[in-house]
């Protein structure tokens, strides 16, 4: 049974809310939830005593953000939380480092190469390009076709062994 939030006290269980947020998937990458992606940052009680979810957008122009906001609200309402608030926070800026390990595994199983471990290594210009492992055959013998893929968060690669083209989730 899910507890309801009233205006008098913080009587929702954050762990339960986090579990519900797992149900909200990224519309572009339906195997990943907003928790896996690190988009959902915090679950808290607003000043008005309502349940408030803090989210952080991946890219400034990500067209999925509005839809995600609506989906979060809808999912929470369906679980018995009236009038949830979704607040977007830009700082600290979202980074692929926030993606969970479970998320990275799901991403690879889905056919998208997960982001490299850390964003701190920035070979900005004429970048010493990293070898990305092919999500199909695991070969490291791949090449970048384009740094910009089907969505803002992905780059296009091609495996030179199994010849399969694949998406790589860029590090930012």
């Amino acid at each position: 049974m899910v507890k309801k939030v009233t205006s008098t006290s913080k009587n929702f269980d954050p762990a339960v809310v986090w579990a519900i947020l797992e149900e909200v998937k990224d519309p572009e990458i339906p195997v990943l939830s907003i928790v896996d992606l690190g988009i959902a940052r915090d679950v808290q009680e607003s000043n008005d005593g309502l349940l408030e979810i803090i989210i952080s957008p991946t890219y400034s122009g990500c067209p999925a953000m509005y839809m995600l906001e609506e989906q979060i609200k809808e999912t929470l309402v369906n679980h018995g939380y009236p009038d949830p608030i979704v607040t977007t926070k830009l700082s600290p800026a979202w980074t692929t480092d926030w993606m969970t390990d479970a998320g990275k595994q799901k991403l690879e199983a889905y056919g998208i190469a997960p982001p490299e471990k850390t964003t701190s290594n920035k070979s900005v210009l004429f970048g010493g390009q990293k070898k990305i492992s092919c999500p199909k055959c695991k070969s490291n013998n791949s090449e970048q076709i384009s740094e910009f893929g089907s969505t803002a968060c992905k780059a296009l690669y091609r495996c030179l062994d199994c010849l399969e083209p694949f998406d790589y989730f860029k590090c930012i």
Binding site: Y59, S60, A93, L125, S146, E147, F148, A152, K170, I172
Partner: protein, 256 residues
């Protein structure tokens, strides 16, 4: 002349940064279905999306600061030509692939320095937008730099044409490093960026990439000004907002 309030200055400043993103983003989106290869088209659309996304965050903040109940849409769709203070460079027509790449390169090299500085603004919202935008701009700069090298150090034809793009667009770069009254006013509080200090590192970056591309940096120092300080645009600008604002002007309040 009426005295500029701090609040008005912040609104003007924020909207002016947004204008750059909206207008160059719009120009780049005009390449949709016209780029030489699908990967290049997706790259330009990705960059355009980042820029328009940055503009939306900034317009929303300007609207909030203004406190008149307006939204980002009022700024984009319901202001007149003279109210837009984007750099002239952003509104120049796309031309050929080389022209588009050179403009993106000049702007990204500027934006990388600008957003890095904005990330240290004493205004928390502007600092957050600066930090976020910097990550995106890094990709734009790398993409345009690599193309510039490919074109400059490519064939005789591509070299000649991209050198002409550089020479043609050069006069519009000086405006980026001029200060408006709003920028000067906000500088004392550490809110705005002193863009005059960005000129030297920008020149260095341009020279570094152009040298690698076997291209020549123009020596002409004359700069075409007008838009950033006064909203005086090139003759091309009216056509941009005519297309962009058509729906909201014809059907006020129309929603998706």
């Amino acid at each position: 002349m009426t005295e500029l309030s701090k609040q008005d200055a912040l609104v003007q400043y924020t909207a002016q940064i947004a204008d750059n993103g909206l207008i160059i983003g719009h120009r780049m989106s005009e390449w949709c279905f016209r780029a030489p290869a699908i990967e290049m088209e997706m790259a330009l659309m990705n960059c355009a999306l980042d820029m328009i996304g940055q503009a939306r965050e900034l317009y929303s903040y300007a609207a909030k600061t203004q406190g008149e109940g307006k939204t980002e849409d009022d700024f984009a769709y319901l202001r007149d030509e003279r109210d837009f203070r984007n750099a002239l460079l952003t509104e120049i027509p796309n031309g050929d692939w080389g022209d588009t790449i050179v403009r993106l390169f000049f702007m990204s090299a500027y934006n990388e320095l600008f957003f890095k500085a904005l990330a240290t603004s004493t205004d928390a919202e502007l600092a957050a937008i600066g930090t976020k935008s910097l990550k995106e701009v890094t990709y734009h700069l790398r993409f345009s730099s690599e193309w510039l090298i490919r074109l400059g150090d490519g064939t005789e034809e591509s070299h000649t044409r991209v050198q002409k793009s550089i020479d043609d667009l050069w006069i519009f770069t000086g405006e980026l490093f001029t200060m408006t009254d709003a920028e000067n006013m906000l500088l004392t509080d550490g809110i705005s960026v002193d863009v005059t200090t960005l000129k030297t590192p920008w020149d260095q970056k341009i020279s570094e990439v152009l040298t690698r591309a076997t291209l020549t940096v123009p020596t002409n120092d004359w700069a075409q000004l007008g838009s950033k300080s006064e909203g005086l645009h090139t003759e091309h600008f009216g056509y941009i907002i005519t297309e962009m604002q058509y729906l909201q002007r014809r059907y006020p309040g129309c929603e998706w």
